[in-house]
Amino acid sequence: MRRLPIAALTPLTLLALLGLLAGCGATGDGVLSADTVRVAVRVDLPGIGARGPSGAVEGFDVDVARYLVGKLGKKAVFVPVTAADREKVLTSGRADMVLATFSITQDRKERVLFAGPYQLSYQDILVRRGETRIKNVRDLAGRSICEVKGSNAGQRVVEERKVAARLVPFDSYGPCMERLLSGEVDAVTTNDVILAGLAAESSGLRLVNAQFNEQRTGVGMRLGDVEGCEAVNRAITGMYQDGTAKKLLKKWFGKTDLPISTVSVPQFEGCS
């Protein structure tokens, strides 16, 4: 009986090793570690992220999120987010991923890890249908444009393109659209996908198709979740290769003014 411990050691060592090996699959607190992924989406942008007739969120970003999270083998739960709160939902831990027309910028990369971009879009201009003098960004000089809280699009016209437009502040797109239709402001500028969705809501508006600043719309993730970011990039590649990207673009923007010419996987930002 005294010999038993020694005799038992060999198989025990092996068992312990096997146990440790089996445990190496799940790591960290990234998106790959839980069964559900909380995705922050917009609820104020028709065609991208908005409440549908049933009250559920729907739109291009919502469908993309559902596809990507599905590719990771997880279930998506949606959390509403405003433009101003997109970084905060990640850092505060209220969401694991942000798909909310979140443009990748060097500045944001200090605080957010970006997978993708999953879509390239351009900054563009939305005007009243009767407006013919605005053909490109330079024609905004001296005109009034909406400056929606949390979006830097109006600022970029003035600073980056050096066009002396007059910025009129708004909290969200709703009141801005009302003033545009009533003629109190002359134009709205931001991502063309957002504008296309807004234009589709009203027959009185038109997308200029000026396409002046390239915007890379990425998946916001927590800094450090390199593994999750790489997995999302692979899923995005899959989304373009299996035709889902084209299908979703057609589904949400096919009937709008948005030109859907090039549908090809964008150049990724890289996860490290």
């Binding site: 010999r3 020694i6 005799a7 050691l9 060999t10 060592t13 092996l14 090793l17 440790l20 090996l21 190496c24 060097q106 990369k109 200090e110 390239l120 351009y122 490109n136 960004v137 600022q155 970029r156 600073e159 980056e160 393109r161 050096k162 396409q211 002046f212 600043n213 390239e214 390199v226 593994e227 790489e230 990039n233 692979r234 590649t237 899959g238 290769q241 090039t262 090809s264 996987v265 964008p266 150049q267 990724f268 890289g270 996860c271 490290s272």
Partner: protein, 447 residues
């Protein structure tokens, strides 16, 4: 069992000796087998990891980065050719020759990348689509250059008929082909990171297992030695003593080989691969940023878009504040000390040529916006092209240096394991033989 029946009157102690000896020998051999198995498993995992990093992913980064560089420069040469118009005769011919050379390089890099892809279906689809797209691009670029020659325009923007075709070509290149090549480079980075982490984890675990199994084998060998010398009133058994010494040697050799391999793997990734990858990406971005300078002058309708792309790429290489190109040039010129953000952060040796490129860029844009269009084109095709060539050379040289570190680390990792593979099988066979030689004569005394 048979022993017990043949000697019913024997004392209990004497009856148990052969059984105990057999069991102890069995246990010794079993623990040795576990040790050998773990050493072998660790060696296989380590060798496999190094193969993925050193022979697949490392070369794949170089192939796909070469592909990107070739593609990017093809489009840059086309832009230059169109910008030159009927002026710059010799330089136009040189740009056309370089276009042909880059085309050949891109095709070679594509073949190499395809070869290294193995059986990854997603990567294969990507490379296939780049191959298809490249054919379309060459047709469009050829047509744009033909129309341009026929137009025989002065240096600067060509007629709209040429631009229309060039826009299709450059959109195909910039928005479809180059991103795919870039993503393939990133994917190799993913493969290396995963392999490094997983191999490192498993090898460390197996090394701990080797230590435990080796310790156990030594304890059991010692116990066997003690049993033999007590029961048979002999001094130490020389074969068993040798077996013990050899086991200890094997244990030390195995653990140190694994430690050497882990160190080599870390060095290959952190000292070589990561830096190589970053520089490859930086060189790719620098190339397409330079092409944006030509496109800015070439296509007035899209000048805003190309200027924005230029600023965006510049800030991804070296981040300093600036909401527009002029502001960026100003903050870049003022910035003291190492830059904190961007792919070229902390690389003082590259900053000098990077700054010079941007200073010349500022001059070109000032000339362009003040109406001196011909001067701007001359600046682009002269000093700016030289500044870019200088920057590209520095980036390529640094990349080669990191590649050497990478190759050395991969070789030293392979060497660490090769030594173990050469000696371990003989050592293992000798240990087993010595144990049997040590015990067999004693067991025979009971037959």
């Amino acid at each position: 069992m048979t022993v017990v029946q043949q000697h019913p009157a024997a004392s209990p102690t004497r009856v148990n000796v052969p059984r105990r000896l057999t069991r102890m020998t069995g246990l010794t051999l079993a623990s040795l087998l576990v040790l050998f198995g773990l050493v072998g498993a660790a060696g296989l995992v380590a060798g496999d990891g190094m193969r993925v990093v050193g022979r697949d992913a490392g070369p794949q980064v170089l192939a796909t980065a070469g592909l990107y560089h070739g593609l990017s420069d093809m489009d840059a040469q086309v832009a230059d050719v169109l910008l030159m118009g009927r002026e710059y005769g010799d330089r136009r011919a040189a740009a056309l020759a370089r276009y042909e050379q880059r085309r050949a390089e891109a095709n070679q890099a594509l073949l190499k990348a395809f070869e290294l892809t193995g059986d990854d279906p997603a990567e294969r689809v990507t490379i296939q689509s780049v191959l298809d797209g490249l054919g379309r691009y060459e047709w469009l670029a050829g047509r744009a250059m033909l129309l341009d020659t026929q137009a025989a325009h002065a240096a600067g923007p060509p007629p709209e008929t040429v631009l229309k075709v060039y826009r299709q070509a450059t959109d195909l290149m910039r928005l479809e082909l180059m991103p795919k090549a870039y993503n393939l480079t990133l994917e190799s980075g993913t493969i290396v990171r995963r392999t490094h982490d997983e191999t490192g984890f498993t090898v460390r675990l197996l090394r701990d297992g080797v230590l435990a199994a080796g310790g156990l084998a030594l304890v059991v060998l010692a116990a066997l030695q003690v049993t033999l010398s007590r029961r048979f009133r002999r001094t130490l058994s020389p074969p068993l003593l040798t077996a013990t010494a050899l086991t200890l040697a094997l244990l030390i050799a195995g653990v140190s080989a694994l430690a050497g391999h882990s160190a080599a793997m870390d060095e290959a990734k952190q000292g070589g691969f990561d830096a190589m990858l970053t520089l490859s990406r930086a060189r790719a971005v620098a190339g397409s940023l330079h092409a944006d300078q030509a496109r800015y002058l070439l296509d007035p309708d899209r000048a805003d878009t190309y200027e924005h792309a230029f600023l965006d790429k510049s800030q991804s290489l070296v981040y300093t504040e600036g909401g527009n190109v002029e502001a960026y040039h100003a903050t870049l010129a003022r910035a003291k000390g190492p830059v904190r953000l961007g792919m070229l952060r902390g690389r003082a040796e590259i900053m000098k040529s990077y700054r010079r490129l941007h200073a010349t860029d500022g001059r070109m844009r000032a000339e362009h916006t003040s109406g001196r269009r011909a001067a701007a084109v001359a600046t682009k095709l002269g000093p700016l092209a030289e500044d870019y060539a200088a920057l590209d050379t520095v980036l390529a040289q640094r990349g080669t240096a990191h590649r050497a570190t990478f190759d050395r680390a991969v070789a030293s990792g392979d060497e660490a394991m090769a030594g173990l593979w050469r000696l371990a099988p003989f050592g293992m066979a000798a240990i087993v033989a010595l144990v049997v030689i040590g015990v067999w004569p004693r067991l025979r005394e009971y037959r």
